[in-house]
């Protein structure tokens, strides 16, 4: 039986095409009240006056909460590697518990009203005065003060092999380049939303989150109730891309507003509110310097990045991650540096690090190829490593050569004439570009139960959320094959913290993490059935269970007790560190791009796209293709149009809307041809590697390289808008 791999329609397709799928702001609870936020509009300082008189006078207003009258909320817990849920706090600011302002956009008041219209109106009437303090908000100005990122268990801030600077100075051919990338915003189409209801000391939240379990732990700490008193439901989440991976102000303040008013409260952020209170991708500057022999053999590879975090939170981006694995250079230096700014903390956004890191290193390789007069694919193949370049560790799976061979053939790379500006179609300058895609692969701990019933049906239970990746479909496919039952016989329950604990969606890890436990649980079920069959006989599950008079057999992997969770996490960390010592694991691929640039206006159109990807075993070809395409689409936005504009004087986001932050639209996206090598990774469950983030990596570089080929212009600052091409 081979359901795994089949392009099965997603099981929730009907719910989503009929309007039946309910998202976090769509639960109509009796007595529901609505909340709206008020944001600080200075970067740093103290609130000296907050006048809520007019707001409280709006008919239907139930409460106006500020630091002057809010119920107490405990501060966010300190980050500890022994309890990974401590990583989930978007910021360290204890909202409404202080008169301090730490970033422009920090929520300083919550209005709760009978209708959302009243809440919105009242929020607009609150007047605030501040005593501003000096702030540092200009990334470009702060960049010279950047400090090397401290090491963490996942990655070292600086790594070197040999003496790359010396090798660079002695190399025959070199490039030494500076790239910049702007801040980006996830812009999941569903704004962050929470519906919260307290019953005594029990809190239920319907939350737009990628991290059901961590939200639960976090809220329990903040409201000083046992974890078991908090229930988080997130069956459907309207996109996240990392933006819903942490707990941001909205979730917390909805729960606070519900507690303060004794009413169920719904808080749906406005689009502006998402920009003001939910972090995005950091800006970066990157230096990539490459030195090679005349035949293209790399002697030196240097990749040094500067990014930012917030003074009150944020995560260091792994911008040089891929540069530790992609090329067999004799001498390598990678270094990630950081500045801390008085801005809303940054956060992970689809392939944090690799998305913008691949832009710089893969554009630099293209520039080196031009300097050498070599084909950019030939240069990459000349330097394709047999083992991890930095330390000689084995690759668990490495199929970049195969990806390039297949991709070049399918794309028609041989038709490309190397000279920039040499390919034309009427008024259009045509260019072809290529770049590698790369994203590390890992697993988290996941708890799963599987129940096989006497009627032959199977129930898989795991508390993950459905955010578009098709988890319920993919896991049902895996369970169907593992147990040898039809796909239709399997049902997956998800989206609820009452279910066995699932890891959140992050690092492209969720599918593999759950699959690992699911396969184990299915094995246990099969063993139990075999044991029964030995006793009472019978053939096939239904017959065996019926003869044994057993209504169902259930197996669990992982324990949801407190001790079980700690043990699971310890097992995960040990396994993770052991595996890291043995293998370098990654999904990888190649992106081919054809652009057309108008010779007079500089208008850039992407006319063709082809990607070949190695994500190990493909569980569902249809959904995996969609996910990779989605990454490419977001990459095209990054390449050509996306940029969060932050006022360097005030630290205020200037384009907090979908009208002024330009994500790709239908007309921007050509047909995207996606292929998979479909070869199992021997170290991963079923051989699968995550697919969520790989697609965006390499995209901006392929576009930049194609634009250079079309026009002869090298644009090293994203986004590549037409003014930079003219």
């Amino acid at each position: 039986m081979t359901v795994v791999g089949a392009p099965i329609d997603r099981v929730d397709g009907k719910a989503k095409t009929t309007g039946a799928a309910r998202f976090a702001a769509e639960y109509a609870l009796p007595g529901l009240a609505h909340a709206a936020l008020v944001y600080a509009n200075i970067a740093r300082g103290r609130i000296t006056a907050l006048d809520t008189t007019a707001a409280r006078a709006v008919p239907g207003v139930l409460a106006v909460l500020t630091h002057q009258n809010s119920p107490t909320v405990k501060p966010a817990p300190k980050v500890s590697m022994l309890n990974l849920s401590t990583l989930v706090s978007g910021t360290q600011v204890n909202y409404l518990q202080t008169d301090e302002v730490h970033f422009d956009g920090q929520p300083i008041a919550v209005v709760v009203a009978e209708t959302s219209a009243s809440a919105k109106e009242a929020a607009s009437l609150i007047r605030t005065e501040y005593a501003a303090m000096e702030s540092t908000v200009d990334f470009a100005a702060a960049e010279p003060d950047a400090k090397v990122q401290p090491n963490n268990p996942l990655m070292r801030g600086e790594e070197k092999k040999g003496d790359a600077e010396k090798a660079l100075s002695e190399a025959d051919v070199t490039v030494d380049l500076r790239f910049t990338t702007p801040p980006h915003a996830h812009n999941a189409l569903e704004p962050h939303s929470t519906t919260a209801v307290w019953e005594g000391d029990h809190l239920t939240v319907y939350d737009a989150t990628q991290s059901i379990d961590w939200v639960r732990s976090h809220l329990a700490v903040r409201f000083a109730v046992p974890t078991g008193n908090v229930r988080v439901l997130a069956p459907f989440v309207g996109g996240g891309f990392g933006g819903k991976g942490s707990v941001w102000a909205g979730t917390l303040l909805a729960a606070l507003a519900a507690r303060a008013t004794g009413r169920p409260v719904r808080l749906m952020l406005t689009r502006e509110g998402v920009y003001r209170t939910v972090g995005g991708r950091t800006a970066s500057t990157q230096r990539v310097a490459l030195g090679a022999d005349r035949d293209g053999k790399l002697r030196a590879l240097i990749h040094a990045s500067v990014a930012r975090t917030g003074r009150v939170g944020g995560m260091p981006e792994q911008i040089t991650s891929q540069s530790r694995h992609l090329y067999d250079a004799e001498h390598i230096l990678v270094r990630q540096s950081l500045v801390e700014l008085d801005l809303l903390p940054n956060t992970f956004m689809r392939a944090p690090g690799e998305s913008i890191g691949t832009f710089a290193v893969e554009a630099a390789i293209d520039e080196l190829a031009a300097e050498l007069g070599m084909d950019p694919i030939a240069l990459r193949m000349r330097n394709e490593p047999a083992v991890n370049p930095m330390d000689g560790k084995k690759f668990a799976h490495r199929m970049l050569r195969e990806a390039y061979t297949l991709g070049a053939e399918k794309f028609g790379w041989h038709e490309r004439t190397p000279e920039p500006g040499s390919m034309r179609d009427g008024r259009w300058l045509v260019g072809m570009g290529v770049a590698s895609a790369y994203h590390p692969a890992n697993r988290f701990a996941a708890n799963v139960t599987v129940r096989l019933s006497a009627d032959g049906t199977v129930l898989v239970r795991c508390g993950f959320q459905e955010m578009g990746m098709g988890g319920a479909t993919a896991q049902a496919q895996i369970a169907a094959d593992a147990l040898g039952v039809p796909f239709e016989a399997v049902r997956v329950e998800y989206g609820d913290s009452e279910l066995p604990m699932s890891p959140g969606a992050g690092g492209s890890m969720q599918t593999a993490s759950i699959a690992n436990s699911l396969l184990e649980a299915c094995e246990k079920v099969k063993h139990s059935v075999q044991a029964l069959a030995k006793r009472t006989g019978g053939e096939g599950y239904e017959d065996i269970l019926r003869r044994a008079n057993v209504p169902h057999i259930e197996a669990a992997v992982g324990s949801d007790t407190r001790f079980g969770r700690i043990a699971g996490q310890a097992r995960f960390m040990t396994n993770f560190l052991l595996e890291q010592r043995r293998w370098v694991k990654a999904a990888a691929g190649v992106q081919f791009c054809e652009v057309r640039v108008d010779r007079d206006t500089g208008e850039i159109r992407v006319s063709r796209w082809l990607g070949v990807f190695d994500i190990g075993t493909v569980i569902n070809h249809k959904m995996a293709s969609s996910q990779l395409r989605g990454g490419i689409v977001m990459g095209l936005g990054m390449a050509l149009s996306e940029e969060t504009l932050i006022d360097p004087r005030t630290g205020r986001i200037m384009n907090p809307s979908l009208a002024e932050y330009h994500v790709p639209v239908h007309a921007d996206i050509p047909p995207i041809d996606v292929s998979f090598l479909d070869d199992p990774d021997p170290t991963m469950p079923l051989g699968l590697l995550g697919a969520g983030e790989l697609g965006i990596t390499g995209v901006a570089a392929a576009v930049a390289n194609a634009i250079h080929h079309a026009t002869g212009n090298r644009v090293r600052e994203l986004p590549i808008t037409l003014d930079k091409v003219l």
């Binding site: 989503k16 702001a25 979908l658 047909p671």
Partner: protein, 161 residues
């Protein structure tokens, strides 16, 4: 507050709303029709697209009071081959833009049938040109999909057109 009567998906619904309430909020918050989505509340994303007398509109930019007497169709009231085509072509991932994409596509197909041109139309005189991919993409560009399901959406629309 004022009492208004809206015709939604074929039935009359009476509700009390404040004058500033949008058609979108009337649907979602007053009538519990949450299939219509709020993505930006500013007319920039298209997630709130519904049909008013068969024409696609952004319901976030429409005041509920001004739509008395109009026939409003939301995703809940739609029974159209596009819905299954979207699933087959995987023209969705998270599903949040999907209602708007489908309502918009239904309206768009009707516009095209009536000979309305788009910025991608080469020959304005030629009647009822077949809907090319380029035409579909141009005409659907008011509906954002951040998951990037655009290719699947175009395939689904082509299948039904």
């Amino acid at each position: 507050m004022a009492e208004i009567t809206l015709r939604i998906n074929g039935s009359a619904e009476t509700l009390d709303v404040q004058p500033q309430v949008s058609l979108l909020d009337a649907l979602r918050e007053h009538l519990g029709l949450t299939g219509t989505k709020k993505g930006c509340d500013q007319g920039a994303c298209g997630a709130c697209t519904v049909l008013a007398d068969g024409e696609r509109i952004n319901s976030c930019l429409a005041l509920a009071m001004q739509y008395e007497g109009r026939e409003i169709t939301t995703i809940e009231g739609l029974d159209h081959p596009l819905q299954e085509a979207f699933v087959r072509a995987d023209g969705l991932q998270c599903g949040y833009c999907t209602s708007g994409q489908i309502c918009s596509a239904v309206g768009m197909l009707a516009e095209h049938k009536e000979g309305a041109p788009s910025a991608a139309t080469e020959d304005l005189e030629a009647a009822e040109e077949e809907l090319s991919d380029e035409e579909i993409r141009e005409r659907m560009s008011g509906n954002l999909c951040r998951c990037g399901a655009y290719n699947g959406i175009v395939s689904a629309i082509k299948e039904v057109a």
